[in-house]
Symmetry: C2
Subunit: 344 residues, 2 copies
């Protein structure tokens, strides 16, 4: 039983049936009664198509994320979905992988479904070139675009980020203050957020008069096809290789907990005492931190807070008060110290 | 520009515009031409509402899962979304938590959106009482219901499971064959799958003449509100407490990798050699297994295979060949041995 059946049964046009369903006042009381009676008689539930036709909204938010099985992105998708649903919006999830052309194509696909907004989860949606970010600006001409953990200055795009630069700067300073003289930085992403973190590391070293060479920055390749998290044993092997080549590190700071776990495994395998001989700090503060031995010091990136702020802002925008919403909101990370460091 | 605007511009009814869009043959060539010209002139893209009205399909599959941030469920959601999208179907994700009434409510909500099918991800959707499973049977009267990692015998419900019983039976036998005499079982879910695993443990012990008492089965409480994975340190504390009370275990088998990591941490903290004094095996074979020290022996539950089979089956059902699809498909798990055991 759909809107056409009701139209046929009542002799009222589908457009008028739609107006009745959506409570429009431009329908006579007699016609309204006839339609409502038929709806009741035939057990018709106004469905999403009818709602869509009448209101031109599906009450649906599209989420693009590279890989919903990545722990960081999985948690963000979970938070966003929950908050949207509780606000009366469905979530269409679309995982794009890390390839640019797929991101563009799936953005188009979401828009063709007339979603009310798009939420981009993860800093990997922002590329270094403006040209590559055009698809975001284009989408924002149709619907509000919210970005979690990425930043771009374009009309109708609202960004919520963690201050990754300062968090890595601060944790690197703490490492140095605790007596470490030769830190290694390990990372696996050159996204906006990835570059912020790397700069935080560089600047903290420069500020403390430690030379930054290619020797103490380790990029452990791109993500595996399929987007699974980086295998810790690759990191362990890479750090061991650097050490064998004569680099003398006394600590490692990683852009992601999983990379830090690799560094912990390297130190354990090499018989180094943690944190005395080799200290380690990660980033994200996920359950992973409690799994390794000793447990991992990490930066809590406040992902739940970011996601809540993003969806709350979106609901305010939907209510028509977009002028009250900042285009860019930055929260501070928080260092959670565990057994892999000995900060003062 | 929507279906009504085209109707108004052309003087053709919305129903006929819809028929033209959907390629119905019951429209005169003259009318078809008029509508198509208007569509071209006004740049109208047939949208999802119109498609919905015409075909009564949104080409959308609803996914219910308890918590998309749980690593097991996150990976399943990722696999299912990718496969559905590649088959031309969108995915609406709805996270229900573990509370029964929310599962029912969100199933109703998905159905009211006229999804083409519902996929239940995770064994926690199947309850021990038939009454509590009624909402699944009811949903299956409307659309096919696919269950990943849970089983129920109801018309129009298709289940894909891993043989959890045999996998735990087999790994317990291997523990015993490697010389262990007093195994501990650790679990945190009493779902269908959870009970299968527990029975596998019980029967392997019975078969080998080892008495199964309450002392060697440890239930570490229900999941935290919010559905985050179980903290490993709670498991570590629980196992230490049992040991302090005089239980002498020489190995632990866990229903989930995260619980097994807790057991590894217990052994490390207690100064036990792994696997000589205390062997450990987990379940799921996630990245986690490589994070602890020694690395964790685990059961690969073939989640990717299960998800692919589920979505392939669904597409066959959509194509009208549901009679070729088994109602229940069981894959075998595979034991992946790492450093926490010494099987022969």
């Amino acid at each position: 039983m759909n809107i056409y059946d009701i139209s046929r049964k009542t002799g009222v046009s589908t457009a008028t049936v739609s107006r009745v369903i959506n409570g429009s006042s431009s329908v006579s009381e007699k016609t309204r009664r006839k339609v409502l009676d038929a709806i009741e008689e035939y057990g018709y539930t106004p469905n999403v198509f009818a709602r869509g036709l009448g209101l031109n909204t599906m009450k649906t938010v599209g989420i693009l994320c590279a890989d919903s099985s990545d722990p960081y992105l999985a948690q963000a998708v979970y938070c966003v979905e929950e908050h949207c649903r509780k606000s009366g919006y469905d979530v269409i999830l679309s995982c794009t992988g890390y390839d640019h052309s797929l991101k563009e194509r799936q953005m188009d696909s979401l828009l063709s479904k007339r979603v009310d907004a798009v939420i981009l989860v993860g800093s990997n949606y922002i590329e270094s070139s403006d040209d590559l970010n055009m698809y975001i600006a284009k989408a924002a001409k149709t619907v509000p675009v919210m970005i979690i953990n990425g930043s771009i200055n374009v009309p109708n795009v609202y960004c919520t980020v963690c201050d990754d630069y300062s968090a890595i700067y601060e944790i690197t300073e703490k490492m140095i203050a605790s007596g470490k003289k030769n830190p290694l930085y390990i990372y696996n992403s050159e996204s906006y957020s990835g570059m912020q973190k790397l700069n935080g590391f560089r600047n903290a070293l420069a500020r403390n008069g430690i030379e930054v060479g290619s020797g103490n920055i380790l990029f452990v390749g791109s993500r595996k096809p399929g987007g699974k998290s980086f295998p810790v044993n690759v990191v362990k092997a890479a750090v061991a290789e650097l050490a064998a080549a004569g680099h003398r590190f006394d600590c490692a700071i990683a852009s992601d907990d999983i990379l830090a776990v690799g560094a912990v495994k390297y130190a354990n395998a090499a018989g180094l005492r943690i944190p005395e001989d080799f200290a380690v700090a990660g980033y994200n503060n996920f359950d992973l931190c409690e799994c390794c031995d000793p447990e991992l010091t990490s930066v809590d990136n406040r992902l739940d807070v970011l996601c809540d702020h993003c969806v709350s802002s979106l609901m305010t925008i939907f209510s028509g008060s977009e002028s009250t919403i900042p285009k860019h909101t930055m929260f501070s990370g928080e260092i959670i110290e565990r057994g892999t460091t000995n900060f003062r």
